[in-house]
């Protein structure tokens, strides 16, 4: 079936089986492989993307369900020239090791800080509790998100 939606600001149209979830559509059909599959049953959060601005697990969304919607992936939150403030915070504070969970964590952190730039460590932990990481032990991830708040506070809401 044909599904048309906006990906990182650009119109796309794909032809997929109805059973194809959004994560596989992004990775296999559209070759945007920054979104990762860690469990495919909605627990690990590695596949998190923004759907109409809200963080969602893309392995739990059928491609068909994003008809007419706006999807943002890690590629859409990045640019070639420089790391964004959020990415810089993660690099400075060593908030990643193998990098596999990282795109999902960045998307979730971005959604959180966009809505709640004053989120404290407890709130950050609560929201990120839905993103599993096996390498870092989360300490540096929380430090990174705390450090990134300054940039989000400075943004017009």
């Amino acid at each position: 079936m044909r599904v048309a939606f906006t990906l990182n600001g650009e119109s796309v149209a794909v032809d997929v089986e109805p059973r194809t979830h959004l994560a596989d559509c992004l990775r296999e059909t559209l070759r945007q492989t920054g979104t990762h599959l860690g469990c495919e049953h909605g627990v690990c959060g590695a596949c998190t993307v923004l759907l109409d601005g809200a963080a969602v697990r893309s392995c739990l969304v059928l491609t068909a369900q994003v008809e007419g919607s706006a999807v943002t992936t890690i590629e859409g939150l990045s640019n070639d020239e420089a790391l964004t403030p959020l990415q810089t915070a993660f690099r400075t504070h060593h908030g990643l090791q193998c990098g596999f969970c990282t795109p999902g964590i960045l998307i979730t952190a971005h959604a959180l800080l966009t809505d709640e730039p004053d989120a404290d460590a407890d709130r950050i932990r609560e929201v990120l509790s839905g993103n599993l990481c096996r390498c870092t032990g989360y300490i540096n991830i929380v430090e990174s998100v705390l450090a990134a708040r300054a940039a989000y506070r400075a943004r017009p809401r």
């Binding site: 599959l37 860690g38 790391l83 090791q97 990282t102 460590a121 990481c133 096996r134 032990g137 989360y138």
Partner: protein
């Protein structure tokens, strides 16, 4: 001496991050060459059985299915050789690359379906008709040991191997001892659980008769040689490429059945084939670990001085011996006493086969289990003898004056059977840990009920052996663009290898990081390599890079001298330029046409290093729910030489939290039929961001390793070691008024509740 030391010792930000943060990492699942086909695997639904028939006809009729591969297509089904400890007798218990007539664990591969998409391949798997005659499953190591049902007909036994560690005179020690205590302990089956499941992509070039495999990790060279042998190809015709790797922890990168089956399929079909493990598969197909129980006894003087340790330990290694399957039982046997002076020992460990997923190495294999057993016993002894729990440790730690300290002798022999703790003062991290933790202030909390919760503290000490040889290789090339490419045989598993190797090379050469390219792990670039395991990359790979960089610096001086008409001794290589005393200089770009290159290998003669440290925990236990809150956790480790404090700290914290997962919540549960019940991430629980909020890790470099030019000791596996021990002891201390004596992991809420639900008399 290192040149500039601008980078070594500094918290250099990682070069890897630039791609990972943008979602531009290249993991094997991200690769999709032209003409790609997808594989899915039919795995045994029963724990023990005889295959009577496999009906693939319905599958071949499905649209999009290209082939089904079973043992029939392979012919003589080879077995997977052991990478480590191929001791006599082990050949009886090796895993065939595919099940032929017998299946021995739920999850054992029976068939591979190749189709146009992963979904269609999975449809194909569901359509295969399987006729298996079920046999009695052996799910418990006691049943295995009794031997009524033998997994391998003809072998007559389920005992894969027995290890013994001995020193001194154990009988005399127990005769003399004023105090003995004997207990049984168990650690549950759990696993590394990497965030990226496994994957293999194989491409067969029929014209060149070359096989290229992507998704390699850890030990690409050994696996390349193994695969070549199994496929009947020369090693030079096989390349294993290491892409980005989503965590290894000792489990990823070993040779698994899929590492043969997928390349075989690619050659069979003449098209690239990719298999990506899904999470359900991962939980039953990736190496399990740690399932161990022991009956051990300690002998002490009245003042707490340990005289002896003896015991019988049993490790449930699953249905086959995997490539590293005997490492944990062996290491546990030799290191049960950890960093402590125990002059008389006899420990016997049996590795027993059961109809469960085979096991392999997982971060600090054997040491984690041993620490739990021994530290629990130490705590009980201290309490019985009325000795302060810190003093109990201090009194018995191997002292600096005793270095190097010979560890118990291991049998059967092999590398490391005779080994010694190399250098260090084990009391230093103990003191630092006590200070950082605030032990004196927190003492008063021991066993107290505050706001409805019981508080407890505990401390444990550990040593981390690392640096298994024999060697590591590196090559440094000065390229046409003036950059230096460093190839190293070590593998990246997410630990920051590229950055650390870059720091070593840059400082030795006196150049900046951006003048380097680091290439690691893959087989095409080096003739041989050894990989990343036993926390050896910095020790061996780093030393190879160090020595290679020195040699290259020398070659640069010699080449510049020749060009400038001076003696090599009159040339300085500083900040990327080769300068004479009279101020003439050549840049690296200018020297590039000399095609300077160094091939080097570094060997440590299998002299292992021993990092060491102490960890303390403060917990609060809710008796109504069994919930344990970790209020503070402090780890201090002396790693010999700190190359990158940022990544080192990351490893330390990551190891702690991973260990806490095993201590508190992870569990691979089997039922009586050998069905693995922890079938999803909703059942196999790993720590999340809200579980352990305060983890503090400190590193020391007071005592460099004598056995490598960096002075580095392995640092990736130390902090995980005592996590089960220290949590169990802290909870025991919190619940001392209940007479709680934890003897098993994990310390789940149900188990902790039980400990707090009856008061001691």
């Amino acid at each position: 001496m290192i040149g500039t030391n601008r980078y070594i010792g500094s918290p250099v930000e990682r070069t890897e991050d630039l791609r990972f943060l943008r979602g531009r990492g290249e993991f094997v699942g991200d690769l999709a060459p032209e003409g790609l086909l997808h594989a899915a695997i039919l795995r045994s639904p029963v724990a023990h059985g005889r295959i009577r028939g496999i009906d693939v006809a319905p599958v071949l009729e499905l649209a999009g299915v290209h082939a089904v591969i079973t043992a029939a297509e392979i012919g003589a089904v080879p077995v997977i050789p052991l990478r480590l400890l191929p001791l006599p007798g082990t050949e009886r218990f090796l895993q065939p690359v595919i099940a032929a007539d017998r299946v021995r664990y739920v999850g054992e591969p029976i068939a591979l379906v190749i189709a146009d998409s992963a979904a269609l391949a999975e449809d194909g798997v569901g359509a295969i008709g399987l006729d298996i005659e079920e046999l009695a499953p052996v799910v418990d190591r006691r049943v295995s040991g009794a031997g009524e049902t033998v997994l391998f007909e003809g072998s007559g036994t389920n005992l894969a191997m027995t290890f013994t560690a001995t020193c001194g005179d154990i009988d005399a020690a127990f005769r003399e001892a004023a105090y003995t205590r004997r207990e049984q302990f168990e650690v549950q089956r759990h696993m590394a659980m990497t965030m990226e499941p496994r994957g293999v992509l194989a491409e067969w070039d029929a014209a060149q008769q070359r096989m290229t495999v992507f998704g390699a990790a850890k030990v690409a060279f050994f696996n390349r040689d193994t695969l070549a042998g199994l496929l009947g190809l020369p090693a030079s015709s096989v390349d294993l490429i290491e892409n980005d790797v989503g965590g290894g922890f000792g489990a990823r990168g070993e040779f698994y059945p899929e590492d043969f089956l997928v390349p075989f399929a690619a050659r069979h079909l003449g098209r690239p084939v990719r298999w990506i493990e899904d999470r359900r598969e991962h939980l039953i197909a990736m190496n399990h670990a740690r399932e161990t129980d022991g009956d051990i006894e300690i002998a002490c003087r009245r003042d707490g001085t340990i005289l002896g340790l003896r015991g019988d330990v049993f490790v449930d290694i699953g249905a086959y011996i995997r490539t590293t399957g005997l490492i944990a039982p062996r290491t546990l046997t030799q290191f049960l006493s950890g960093p402590y002076r125990v002059p008389n020992q006899r420990i016997t460990t049996q590795a027993l086969l059961t109809n469960k997923t085979p096991t392999g190495t997982y971060r600090a294999p054997g040491r984690y289990e041993g620490s739990f057993f021994f530290e629990r016993l130490l705590e009980l002894a201290a309490n019985d003898l009325g000795i302060d729990i810190v003093e109990m440790r201090r009194r018995n730690l191997i002292s600096a004056a005793e270095m190097p300290y010979k560890l118990p002798l291991l049998d059967p022999g092999g590398p490391g059977a005779v080994t010694e703790a190399d250098s260090g003062d084990y009391a230093e991290p103990l003191d630092r840990c006590l200070a950082e933790f605030g032990w004196e202030q927190k003492r008063a909390l021991q066993g107290r009920l505050i706001d409805g919760r019981y508080h407890g503290i505990a401390i444990a000490c550990f040593i981390e052996g690392a640096g298994a040889g024999p060697k590591e290789t590196a090559r440094l090339d000065l390229e046409a663009d003036g950059l230096i490419t460093v190839y190293v045989g070590s593998a990246a598993v997410g630990q920051g290898l590229e950055t650390v190797m870059g720091q070593i090379a840059a400082d030795t050469l006196g150049i900046t990081l951006d003048q380097l390219r680091i290439v690691h792990g893959s087989t095409p670039y080096l003739k041989e390599g050894y990989g990343s395991f036993h926390s050896r990359s910095t020790i061996l790979g780093g030393s190879a890079v160090l020595q290679g960089a020195r040699a290259l610096a020398e070659k640069i001086r010699v080449a510049a001298a020749a060009r400038l008409g001076v003696e090599a001794a009159d040339v300085e290589f500083v900040d990327g330029r080769a300068r004479t005393k009279d101020g003439r200089a050549l840049t690296l770009v200018e020297l590039a046409t000399d095609r300077l290159r160094v091939d080097i290998e570094f060997s440590n003669n299998n002299t292992l290093t021993y990092a060491y440290g102490s960890s303390a925990a403060h917990v609060a236990v809710d008796p109504g729910t069994g919930q344990v809150e970790l209020i503070d956790y402090v780890a201090v480790e002396d790693v010999g030489r700190i190359i990158n404090p940022l990544t080192l700290h990351g490893q330390a914290v990551g190891g702690i939290v991973q260990g806490l997962g095993g201590a508190m919540m992870e569990n691979l549960v089997y039922d009586a039929n050998g069905q693995m019940l922890s079938g999803s991430l909703a059942d196999y629980l790993i720590p999340t961001a809200t579980d352990f909020r305060t983890i503090r890790a400190f590193a020391l470099q007071n005592h460099p390793a004598p056995s490598n030019p960096l002075g580095a000791k392995g640092a990736g596996e130390g902090t995980i070691i005592p996590t089960g021990a220290v949590m169990a002891n802290a909870i025991a201390n919190a619940l001392s008024s209940f007479g709680a004596t934890p003897t098993a992991l994990p310390l789940s809420p149900a188990r902790v509740w039980r400990m707090a639900s009856t008061r001691a008399q």
